[in-house]
């Protein structure tokens, strides 16, 4: 990360310009009825920008790429969510954004040291077990939410970062293999497979099949990383077996899928426009109405549709802001994921972690965007950062924190320490040479 030449002030200007231009668009093209509401939104966006930038300044990191990008996306998301139907600051989403930023820092601090994670991975397994228990015993009828007062938590969202962590943390022990039958398998990989199976079974039991592909994708990445490590040579046989097994599992899942899934897999949305295809049809009509440039913030009609701010949020953004703006926002999230390619991880644990995070984000984005636009079956998952939902936002924040940790950022004091060490060793070498001469 320290290799990037992105200057702090330049990034701040870019960030402010982005948000100010969006607010300008809201003012010019949007349906601003109450100027006070617009001012509140402006205050919240710029306030969050300033406060977070000051905090990150105090951190004295050497670079801020991911922090800036996350802040940029979150405030874009806050503007989007505050303009659906009418222009009014979405306090709920503002809180979610703040929680996302906190979760990001927490994720970064908790996952950056791979030695600590490796030693304490038993606690991650315990946390997963705890989340399992909470889903089985404390969730509502739909087996998704735990409601405490006016707050609702979705425990399955928190399993994602935990699962990625165990995938990454268990990879170091890969060389300690046991012979089971004809196969050499490491103990940790075996445990990971069992955990993965339990997660898949739990998702199936909860009817939360929207999250299942995300976990599947993370697990596939974990498998791929295991094929690469530690011999740095991909076993073609292992890849072939894994591919055949994967296809087999997919076919079995397709055949054995319950009726409500089969219905979704085969629904002709236009033939069932006012039934199972209602949300997607309305989403596509909304996207068409918005065109490239949108109908203006607050001028859309998709806000009347159920889950307009979560499951079909991409279409709602397209309608009000246009396909161009919505695509650019998605591109911004992709650029955030691409930072991993510019700042490669320093070790294999971080590499696995970043691959898992990327897989999780990409799969969830695919399910949401392509599902709501009828390219693939509609599963009803949230779009990272842009959909409402505190649990989802916190989980996404934590994942970005993991991404940040995976890029091995250095802090100013660490850089100074290294510089001093370098200077000292240079001096002692010089002394040695003089003494020798």
């Amino acid at each position: 990360m320290y290799k990037n030449k992105l200057s702090y002030s330049g990034a701040i200007i870019l960030l402010f310009l982005t948000h100010l231009s969006m607010l300008g668009l809201v003012f010019i093209r949007g349906s601003v009825v109450a100027p006070l509401d617009f001012l509140k939104l402006t205050g919240a966006v710029l306030g969050l920008d300033i406060i977070y930038l000051l905090i990150t300044l105090a951190y004295k990191q050497m670079t801020y790429t991911l922090d800036f990008m996350l802040l940029g996306i979150l405030n874009i998301s806050l503007i989007f969510q505050s303009c659906f139907g009418e222009i009014s600051l979405s306090i709920k989403h503002l809180i979610s954004c703040v929680m996302c930023l906190i979760a990001c820092e927490a994720g970064f601090l908790l996952t950056r040291n791979h030695e600590k994670i490796r030693k304490n991975k038993i606690y991650i397994y315990l946390l997963i077990l705890l989340l399992f228990i909470s889903i089985i015993f404390f969730t509502d009828n739909q087996k998704k939410w735990i409601t405490i007062g006016s707050f609702s938590i979705q425990p399955s969202e928190f399993i994602k970062p935990c699962f990625i962590l165990v995938c990454a943390a268990s990879i170091v022990e890969l060389h300690e293999k046991l012979k089971i039958g004809f196969f050499y398998i490491s103990k940790d990989s075996l445990i990971l497979c069992i955990v993965a199976l339990f997660i898949f079974a739990l998702q199936w039991w909860c009817h939360d099949l929207g999250s299942l592909p995300t976990f599947g994708m993370i697990f596939l990445c974990a498998l791929f990383c295991r094929f690469c490590y530690p011999k740095a040579k991909i076993s073609k046989r292992a890849v072939a077996i894994a591919c055949v097994a994967g296809v087999g599992v997919l076919i079995a899942a397709w055949m054995l899928a319950p009726d409500y899934v089969q219905k979704r897999l085969h629904v002709d949305i236009w033939a069932d426009r006012y039934g199972d295809g209602y949300q997607q049809c309305e989403a596509l009509i909304g996207i068409a109405k918005g065109g490239w440039l949108g109908v203006g913030a607050g001028n859309g009609s998709l806000y009347k549709i159920f889950a307009h701010d979560s499951d079909i949020v991409f279409a709602t953004i397209c309608e009000e802001w246009g396909l161009l703006y919505a695509s650019l926002t998605v591109l911004l999230i992709l650029i955030m994921l691409m930072t991993v390619l510019m700042n490669p991880p320093k070790n294999y644990y971080h590499a696995m972690m970043t691959a898992g995070v990327t897989a999780a984000f990409l799969m969830q984005m695919s399910l949401n965007i392509f599902g709501s636009c009828n390219l693939i079956p509609f599963t009803g998952v949230t779009l990272p950062f842009l959909s409402t939902g505190g649990s989802s936002m916190m989980s996404c924040g934590f994942l970005v924190g993991m991404l940040k940790a995976g890029q091995s950022p250095l802090f100013q004091h660490e850089v100074m320490k290294r510089k001093k060490q370098k200077q000292q060793s240079a001096k002692s070498a010089q002394k040695q040479r003089r003494a020798n001469s």
Partner: protein, 459 residues
């Protein structure tokens, strides 16, 4: 480090797949936006015009502007945006008619419009010519494919906003031109073509069969002629003009005309024979039009023979009957496909979707088409010389028994033998009785008025 690089490659691969899918989605969304918007509950639409710029559909139409029954003749053809009728020009082309572009969004004062090939004034005259009778009429240019006349009675007055749905006659919401009907003796055109293809003209013309009013076929069933005393001994030209059932029953039974050959010619012409395969439909700018279907089981079987004469299980749409005429009139054996939309304009007023003439595959040989043309022209000269003064018209009439023989529909199909007025047509009158308006009367109104209209327009 090699392993880490591989993980980076994996990440790059995943990102690329996602980006490609996103690019595909964007392309799909912008290219299908017209379809999506056509399904919106409320969207600004443009007008539909006829070839003389008469309005055929106006989303803001009311009786005070246009008159109470201005749209009655094209109600179930052009339709409207109420979604009460699906197989209409407006319902099938809402995307084209929407005042919308993906770049500009919805434009209330947009210039989106559809310009059709119809001649509304003549269409209305033909509609009125039906008088109290119901039926349908369709006529087109067999060289270019432009449909000039297309109507179906009873129709629906869209200006009533469907408040009279309970009192509407059955079939008012369907344009019968596109739907299957029993073709009656007009089917004998197809059977004669099959015989020409199989036997050749010389062999066919040399055949003569006797008609004494009733013919007992090889399976012992009686085939009756409409002339109780019979037509005596006839060749194909005479039998075609007389529409003699016993002649055609004997022709089908003739050993030199294998059933397989009839089936082959029928299939080439677009029939679904013996329900083998999928029913074919013609696409008229989104409007789906039935082609034809029949059952051919056994040469000696009554139903097969009856089907070859256009009764029983044989069904053809009036549009298809007309389209076959183009292959005969052009002497090519290739049909000219009809169309309704001449061109459309976008929301900016730019012309798009300019119509182009398209053709079917070879259905029968040019020689067969030429002989069939002569047989039909001969029939026209001898029996229908007053359809259009000074011009030969090739025709075939038909009487179709429907509702178990309780009603008889009257049909007339044909073409005008004039390169300056190349019109093919099909007229059908429901349940026609003696003394009522005839298909010839309606054809006369159609051809004469259309001729005047096209001449005055300098076409």
């Amino acid at each position: 480090m090699k392993s880490i690089r591989r993980v980076q490659k994996l990440i790059t691969f995943m990102l690329l797949i996602f980006l490609m899918a996103l690019a595909f989605l964007i392309y799909k969304l912008q290219s299908e936006a017209g379809f999506y918007i056509s399904n919106a509950s409320k969207i600004s639409l443009g007008n539909v015009y006829d070839r003389n710029n008469d309005v055929l559909f106006d989303p803001d139409a009311d009786a005070q502007i246009y008159g109470s029954d201005y749209f009655i003749d094209i109600g179930n053809l052009i339709g409207d945006d109420s979604r009460q009728m699906n197989n209409t020009l407006v319902a099938q082309n809402m995307g084209m008619l929407a005042n919308f572009s993906f770049m500009l969004g919805e434009q209330e004062d947009g210039k989106a419009a559809i310009y059709t090939t119809l001649d509304h004034k003549v269409n209305r005259k033909v509609y009125d010519a039906f008088g109290t009778k119901n039926g349908c009429a369709v006529a087109y240019n067999y060289l270019t494919g432009e449909i000039y006349i297309c109507l179906s009675k009873p129709s629906v007055n869209i200006l009533n906003n469907y408040s009279d749905l309970d009192t509407l006659e059955s079939g008012s919401l369907l344009c019968k031109v596109f739907y299957p009907t029993v073709p009656g003796s007009t089917q004998k055109i197809s059977t004669t073509l099959a015989a020409l293809e199989s036997m050749g003209y010389d062999n066919l013309i040399s055949k003569s069969y006797d008609c004494s009013g009733v013919y007992t076929n090889l399976s012992g069933k009686n085939i009756k002629c409409h002339l109780a005393d019979g037509h005596g001994t006839q060749n194909i030209t005479e039998a075609f003009a007389n529409s003699c059932n016993p002649f055609f029953a004997q022709l089908v039974e003739d050993v030199s005309l294998p059933l397989y050959d009839i089936q082959k010619t029928y299939e080439k012409m677009g029939y679904l024979v013996n329900k083998e395969g999928n029913q074919k439909y013609l696409d008229i700018n989104g409007i789906s039009a039935f082609t034809a279907s029949t059952t051919l089981a056994d040469k000696t079987d009554f139903n097969t023979q009856w089907g070859c004469m256009g009764q029983g299980e044989t069904l053809v749409s009036p549009l298809q009957l007309m389209v076959w005429q183009s292959a005969i009139a052009n002497q090519t054996g290739i049909s000219t496909y009809p169309y309704l939309i001449s061109y459309a304009t976008t929301v900016n007023g730019n012309p798009v979707s300019q119509a182009q003439t398209s053709y079917s595959n070879q259905m029968f040989s040019e020689i067969s088409a030429g002989h069939m043309r002569e047989i039909m022209l001969e029939n026209g000269r001898n029996h229908y010389s007053n359809l259009l003064s000074g011009t030969d018209v090739g025709v075939k009439s038909g009487t179709a028994q429907v509702e178990n023989g309780e009603k008889e529909n009257s049909l007339l199909v044909g073409f005008v033998d004039d390169v300056n007025f190349p019109i093919a047509f099909c007229i059908e009158i429901d349940d026609r009785k003696q003394g009522e308006v005839t298909t010839s009367d309606i054809t006369r109104v159609l051809l004469q008025n259309l001729h005047e209209s096209l001449i005055s327009a300098g076409e």
